[in-house]
């Protein structure tokens, strides 16, 4: 190999010198085919080695090229295939058959501020191309790689269309908010602020919907997703890299390939399982026989779940046009997606368009790249989301009196019959759906222009300018026809949220190969400006439902019912960064990066943070002593160390500022005087969190690449943790945001990824990819014993913590009492410390009850191809995690005592009394392990050789979420809606409070390329 390389260099040098002397123009042509089935390959690069001359094969795999050197060497390359170098030696017809490269070592992967070949990577980085992603039923990008990457855990907040996801790359390294990775989309670091406005208050509606800001991206536009897992890969993103970086690159046009692609899906979704509640007759009989109560029996037999869930029908259409000449490429796409939720009325529609263009000028020395994308999302939500003791739609569908009829004699939702009127706590789920509306209309725009100039050979300067804009308006109406809204005469709310961000970046890139050494240098500067404006208004006490409240919000009876607020937040970041790549003999690889990040959010004494990283790689398979073994087609050792940061704190934390405060208004002599108070306790020293991580990785391929894999071993230690902690007494507020010097969060883990090609024939192929990752997480150095992170919902459970962060425990440990026994009177006893029992949950009985973080997560992907059929089977699972089933707590047997319904398994449980007080105890901590048949896709490629218009056509059928094997008793173990953030901004995790259930979906899809 060494010799061959040297030869190539010498040859190249020889051609270079002869370049000037050769004058005559010759035509070269040929056909490039796939070794596997001999089919022509379009879009293959054919380049004259050491020059920028070249072309691309056409649809028929043919190319032709005019060159002026009959002795040149052609480099024929295609992504995912092993390149070939063919010396012309006077030939004019050069055909090539390319072999698919199983190892994909030449695959281009996207690193921060640049690209690299996979084989040259020293950090821990995973690239997913469009083919690797979950395609079926994905509405947002996160759904496309859920379960696909070792060490990356993605948990859905709930099953609502467009719902957000909690993504943890190598565990949570931060206690506070900001556990999410940084997203970089087409080179623009994305501000992951929620784009959806919160409500002001609201009786059933109004909670933060926690939808994904990535919903604006059409998954069909995604070319690749690169996930930077360790610090040596992510440190180039400095103070935002601690939770890993996800780089999303959208598709661009290709030179010489003009294509029209249309893809469409129609899908049908339904609730995989109903929760088993008592029927109306069972409920009435038990209350009569065992409790002696005949009241509140209305004789009907209603399963309210049947009334709110439906079979949802969704459709998605994407059309893209792309093409390119040697100087210009373009790709434009349009998408219409209409995603119905399985809860009646809930629906998310997206209209999006995108244009990606590149243009070369100045003798190909200047390259412009432009991205313009826009989308509108119309999201209709239901009254879902636990707010208030009376609960949301789903809780009420489970607990509502099953003897109520659905509708009254007039056809209106039953809310009493004149004799019996609804009490304020009574909710008919159908009335909730019919008499509320919650619509969010969101506009997203992204514009980006970059210019790359080759200043001198090997030295490029690039400027990148981007603007993102997002404007959301949310309209909430709760009709006075709802029994519980009658008193306030209905409520209307209009909430607005506007985000606009700018980024400008300058980078200088220098790449030089000198003999057996290659050096790459990057220097850059970045400036970002982030803005969030909100405006909220609400009105109430409407005289009539004749006009939708939000259409004329001031129609409320008087200004005393009006409620208005607004806010405006800005922060800016300024950064300097650099990277050195050094490659010696393609064997020894070194990378060093540094980033200096400054932010207006940091205190005056800590304006800039510095984040270095170092990594080395050793491609052992290039060493002769490994080659002699004749075993490894690839063997690479990677070692990396680095520091990254997390700067996800609010703004203004270092500032002493005054704000209006309603509770500080004084009323003197009948006049209200506005109150001004100091907004927060300033901390002038506030700064970022620092995560120090090290990574040891091995990439290997054996059996000629038929079996390949990656093993990574890592440790991440986060220090200077940002926490909202008690301030010293007599501070303006009782809390202060501080960097906790003593506290550390330590994540350790090991990740395996293995791909095996079992059969690789032209007619039949089968490969399997498996991932498994183990993780352990612990928090140390907390001086305060317990930090509450998630509280229970339900009557009498105000301020009852379910989940805590405690010293030497994993993060988000469940916390409560352990049930011991039930005595003859039916009283529940709890285990008290030191072996004593306690008849009730007392502070001295509280103990740790398990953890929502899994011991390991795994997935297996099977790809089969037979003739024109392809089959993909994707199974994933997690093991060893616990879920706090707050839904069960809200639905326990004592509900019968309040004329509400209960779950059958709780009803049948040994706990005999109706006066049992649901307590945060191990009764509701359940095993959340599961194995899921996440998707099966069967595709068929139509035979279109006879059709001159169509290049490719594929139909497919797919089912997702087909089977879940779990002991979890709720709707689905893949939940984590919890309570969002508590008042200290701390994340909760793994709490199931009547989450919107995940649907089972069947998809029929069509993909045609013209």
């Amino acid at each position: 190999m060494k010799l061959k390389l040297l030869n190539t260099f010498l040859l190249a040098a020889a051609f270079m010198t002869s370049f000037a002397q050769q004058g005559s123009i010759i035509s070269i042509s040929g056909t490039v085919t796939d070794v596997k089935d001999g089919s022509p390959m379009p879009g293959v690069n054919v380049i004259v080695d050491k020059t920028s001359q070249g072309t691309i094969t056409g649809i028929d795999g043919k190319y032709s090229l005019k060159i002026d050197n009959a002795n040149a060497t052609l480099v024929i390359s295609f992504i995912g295939y092993t390149s070939q170098k063919i010396a012309l030696n006077g030939q004019t017809v050069v055909n090539a058959a390319l072999q698919e490269d199983v190892m994909k070592l030449d695959e281009i992967v996207v690193t921060g501020y640049g690209t690299s070949k996979k084989k040259d990577i020293t950090g821990s980085l995973v690239t997913l191309k469009a083919d690797d992603l979950n395609q079926t039923g994905a509405i947002t990008p996160e759904q496309m790689f859920q379960g696909k990457v070792s060490g990356v855990q993605i948990v859905a907040n709930n099953g609502e269309p467009g719902a957000g996801m909690q993504i943890k790359i190598r565990g949570a390294s931060s206690i506070r908010s900001g556990q999410q990775p940084l997203y970089v989309i087409d080179g623009i670091p994305f501000d992951m602020q929620s784009t959806s406005p919160d409500g002001i208050n609201g009786n059933a509606l109004g909670g933060a919907p926690a939808t994904s800001p990535l919903t604006s991206i059409n998954p069909n536009d995604i070319e690749s997703i690169d996930i930077l897992k360790d610090a040596s890969a992510a440190a180039i993103y400095g103070s935002r890299g601690a939770n890993g970086v996800i780089i999303i690159t959208t598709k661009k046009g290709k030179e010489g390939v003009s294509e029209v692609n249309y893809s469409a899906t129609v899908s049908f979704s339904k609730l995989p399982k109903k929760l088993d509640v008592l029927s109306g007759s069972e409920w009435a009989k038990y209350r009569k026989d065992s409790m002696g109560i005949t009241d509140y029996n209305f004789g009907a037999n209603t399963n309210w779940q049947d009334q709110i869930y439906r079979t949802a029908i969704s459709q998605d259409h994407s059309l893209s046009l792309s093409g390119g000449s040697p100087r210009t490429t373009y790709r434009t796409s349009f998408n219409y997606s209409d995603q119905q939720g399985i809860i009646d009325k809930t629906e998310l529609k997206r209209y999006s368009g995108r244009l990606n263009m590149t243009q070369k000028t100045l003798n190909d020395k200047l390259l412009f790249e432009a991205v313009l994308s826009g989308s509108q999302i119309v999201d209709e939500r239901g009254p879902v989301g636990a707010t208030g003791f009376e609960g949301d739609l789903i809780l009420n569908a489970l607990q509502a009196n099953p003897t109520w009829p659905v509708r009254d004699s007039l056809g209106n939702p039953f809310q009493g019959n004149g004799v019996y009127n609804f009490f304020p706590q009574d909710r008919n789920p159908v009335a909730m759906l019919q008499y509320t509306s919650d619509l969010t209309r969101e506009t997203n725009l992204l514009g980006k222009l970059s210019a790359t100039l080759e200043i001198i050979k090997d030295l490029n300067y690039k400027v990148n300018f981007g603007v993102t804009y997002n404007n959301s308006n949310r309209f909430i109406n709760q009709s006075q026809k709802l029994s519980y809204m009658a008193f306030v005469g209905g409520e209307g709310q209009i909430n607005n949220r506007e985000l606009y961000n700018y980024v400008i970046e300058h980078t200088l890139n220098y790449n030089k190969t000198l003999g057996s050494q290659t050096i790459g240098l990057l220097a850059g500067y970045s400036y970002q400006d982030f803005n969030v404006r909100t405006g909220n208004m609400s009105g109430g006490n409407y005289a009539t439902d004749g006009i939708l409240y939000t259409n004329l919000i001031q129609a409320g009876s008087s200004q005393t019912n009006w409620n208005i607020s607004s806010s405006f937040d800005n922060y800016r970041m300024q950064s300097y960064f650099g990277r050195v790549n050094y490659d010696l003999m393609e064997k020894y690889l070194f990378t060093a990066t540094i980033r200096a990040d400054g932010s207006t959010k940091f205190g005056t004494n800590n304006k800039y943070g510095y984040f270095p990283s170092f990594a080395a790689g050793w491609r052992m398979s290039e060493e002769s002593f490994i080659k002699d073994l004749n075993l490894f087609s690839n063997l690479k050792l990677r070692l990396g160390w680095g520091e990254t940061g997390n700067s996800e704190i609010g703004t203004k934390n270092s500032q002493y500022l005054y704000q209006n405060d309603d509770a500080s208004k004084a009323i003197i002599g009948g006049t209200t005087i506005l109150g001004l108070k100091v907004a927060r306790t300033p901390n002038p020293g506030i700064k970022w969190e620092t995560t120090t991580s090290s990574n040891l990785g091995i990439d290997f391929g054996v059996l000629k690449g038929k079996l390949s894999g990656t093993v990574d071993l890592y440790q991440k230690t986060t220090s200077n943790l940002l926490l909202t902690t008690p301030s010293a007494p007599l501070s303006p507020t009782s809390d202060i945001v501080r960097n906790m010097d003593s506290v550390k969060v330590i994540n350790k883990g090991v990740e395996f990824s293995l791909t095996g090609v079992i059969i690789s024939k032209s007619k039949l192929s089968w490969d399997i990819t498996g991932n498994i990752s183990f993780l352990s997480n612990v928090v140390t150095g907390l001086n305060k014993a317990i930090y509450g992170t998630g509280s229970a919902q339900g009557q009498g459970l105000t301020d009852a913590w379910v989940e805590v962060i405690a010293n030497n425990q994993p993060m988000n440990e469940f916390y409560g009492v352990k049930m011991d026994s039930i005595d003859k009177k039916g009283n529940v006893w709890y285990i008290k410390k030191k072996g004593y029992k306690n008849p009730r949950s007392a502070p001295d009985s509280l103990t740790y009850l398990g953890n929502p973080q899994p011991k390991f997560i795994w997935s297996i992907t099977n790809n089969f191809k037979f003739m024109s059929f392809d089959l993909n089977v994707f199974i994933d699972g997690i093991y060893g995690n616990k879920i706090f089933n707050n839904t069960a707590l809200l639905l326990d047997k004592n509900n019968l005592n309040q004329s509400k319904n209960t779950l059958r398994y709780l009803f049948n449980d040994k706990i005999p009394t109706l006066t049992y007080t649901p307590t945060v105890s191990d009764r509701y901590v359940e095993d959340g392990s599961y194995m899921r048949l996440s998707s099966i896709t069967l595709g068929y490629n139509l035979n279109i050789k006879s059709n001159p218009w169509v290049k490719k056509a594929r139909v497919y059928f797919s089912g997702s979420n087909l089977l879940v094997m779990t002991k979890y008793k709720g709707y689905d173990p893949d939940v984590s809606n919890g309570n969002g953030l508590d008042r200290n901004g701390v994340n909760s995790f793994g709490i199931d409070i009547t989450s919107y259930p995940k649907a089972r979906t069947y998809v029929v899809g069509l993909n045609v390329t013209f």
Partner: protein
């Protein structure tokens, strides 16, 4: 310079114009006010001074100062009813006098609310500036008002936690530890400050309604000396007598001719009218948002879910009076047939409930139908009520501050809260007469003056012990649910006694006379200067 370089030069020039480095990265404040804005606009001073007064409203509800003065005593209990009102054990802890400094929500929050209010007072003082010769009279008025309010909050901390922190208002370094005052030192500092400031406070005749006036200052001094023995171990009833006499002899006040009229919505109309008893009030209005949305609690926290109180909003079925209090204070202490304080039916037709104490079968005000609880059993409020495992209908419900017939919102409240009133001052005087001069006759005259006004039978007493007991009972009759009971029970040595409702037979640990200092406050205080109270 060739063509390429020219283009490069132009491009670079353009780009550097677009992005000049922002080296300072100074934060751009968009929606809050910087100190320089406040200082440059003297018109904003009144808004900064408003804050410590406005925050007075935070104290008078079940989770704060009021809650500790009432829910720890026999006047008020929050039983756990099935699932309801367990709230991580806060109410059981309050009622059984067993608080955890680490997790008791209200031990922590009340400390925080009082500290924040003092900090607001300090901020106001820093903006008013140091006292100058020939300064504007308005500055003196502001300063005395703010120092009075700060003293009031310090008194509240002293009363509950027996300690309070202080800070130099002109120093904004909040990472430094405050100075901590405890016990006698804390008491002495307070009375010294008040002796300077109270004479400078605005006279009641010149004061606007809601503005703390000199009588409020005198009452704070009287309250401190009334409880001095509890705070410092040395009695101060003689000094208390001096201050209450100044209030009583001012002629500003007389006993109300209609007891519940003191507590009705828009009770500010009573100001300076005959029968005005209000010495110090926290003013609530329902015309706009005052940040205390939960405070329409006088109805919601006590009445049952299915009682609509005239309007269609839900109640929370929480607290009630204890049976032992009802028997000892009311049944034994007065004639509930005549005493106007027991029951007032003026709102019953409209709202289905009465002012005072509610018991027996409850009815819907519109349909007149007998109500049931949520399970379907009759809703009959009973005298007996256990602390744990109570049924929905157990416990006598108490209504002192009635709602408006047509409230603007279930969250808003137009009744001004009477922090201190004239009848309290009279009873304090009676108590001091007995304790200082053994003047039973003088005390009896005062007690019977009140009882006559409230249509209660007059009482007699032949010894100081008997007289003190009569005063104790009278305070329970006159001032129920007004936030005085804990102080009274501690002063009359009944606070720690076992109560049948709690199913305890032994007296409580004396450490319960003082709340624990929240662990969060101790951990937030550098240098270990804030020390936990004994026994916790």
């Amino acid at each position: 310079m060739n063509k390429k370089n020219i283009i490069y030069f132009i491009a670079m020039s353009l780009i550097s114009v677009i992005t000049l480095p922002d080296c300072s990265l100074k934060e751009d404040i968009k929606d809050e006010l910087t100190p320089s804005v406040i200082q440059s606009d003297t018109g904003l001073l009144k808004n900064v001074v408003a804050a410590p007064l406005g925050q007075l409203r935070n104290l008078w509800w079940r989770q704060d100062f009021w809650g500790f003065q009432e829910a720890t005593t026999d006047e008020c209990m929050f039983p756990t009813r099935g699932t309801d009102w367990f709230d991580a054990g806060v109410w059981v802890a309050d009622n059984t006098l067993q608080w955890s400094p680490a997790i008791h929500r209200d031990v922590i929050d009340t400390w925080n609310v009082l500290n924040t209010a003092i900090s607001s007072a300090n901020t106001a003082l820093a903006n008013i500036g140091k006292e100058k010769l020939n300064e504007l009279p308005s500055y003196t008025r502001y300063r005395s008002q703010v120092i009075f309010l700060r003293s009031f909050y310090e008194y509240a901390l002293l009363d509950l936690y027996r300690t309070y922190p202080t800070r130099d208002p002109f120093n904004y370094d909040f990472l430094k530890a405050p100075a901590i005052y405890k016990g006698k030192a804390a008491f002495d500092r307070l009375v010294t400050n008040l002796a300077v400031i109270v004479p400078k406070m605005v006279e009641r005749k010149d004061a606007l309604y809601g503005e703390p006036n000199k009588d409020a200052g005198l009452m704070l001094q009287a309250k401190l000396y009334l409880n001095k023995e509890v705070y410092t171990g040395v009695a101060g009833y003689d000094s208390c007598l001096i201050y209450v006499n100044q209030i009583i002899n001012s002629g500003n006040y007389s006993l109300s001719t209609n007891y519940f009229n003191m507590f009705v919505p828009d009770n500010d109309k009573n100001y300076r009218q005959p029968g005005d008893e209000a010495i110090f009030v926290a003013v609530y209005n329902d015309d706009q948002n005052y940040g205390v949305d939960d405070h329409y609690q006088w109805v919601r926290q006590t009445f049952h879910y299915n009682q609509t109180i005239g309007s269609k909003f839900g109640n929370w079925n929480g607290c009630c009076a204890t049976q032992s209090y009802l028997m000892n204070t009311w049944i034994a202490g007065t004639d509930t047939g005549t005493d106007v304080r027991w029951k007032d039916n003026s709102i019953k037709a409209a709202m289905g409930v009465n002012l005072g104490f509610n018991y027996g079968q409850q009815y819907d005000p519109k349909s007149k139908k007998a109500l049931t609880d949520r399970s379907g059993r009759p809703l009959i409020f009973t005298f007996d009520c256990p602390l744990s495992g109570a049924a929905e209908s157990q416990g006598v419900r108490v209504l002192k501050y009635p709602p408006k017939a047509a409230p603007i919102s279930p969250a808003r409240f137009a009744n001004d809260y009477l922090i201190w009133r004239y009848a309290d001052a009279l009873l304090m005087k009676a108590e001091c007469l007995v304790r200082v001069n053994s003047d039973v006759a003088g005390a009896l005259a005062i007690v019977n003056q009140i009882r006559t006004q409230r249509k209660a039978p007059v009482v007699t007493a032949s010894s100081t012990t008997e007289m003190l007991n009569k005063i104790y009972i009278e305070r329970g009759l006159e001032l129920f649910w007004e936030g005085h009971r804990r102080q009274d029970m501690i002063r009359f040595n009944t606070f720690l006694l076992a109560k049948p409702e709690w199913s305890t037979t032994t007296n409580a640990d004396p450490k319960a006379l003082i709340l624990p200092i929240p662990l969060s406050a101790i951990s937030g205080t550098p240098g270990g200067v804030l020390v936990q109270n004994p026994g916790y």
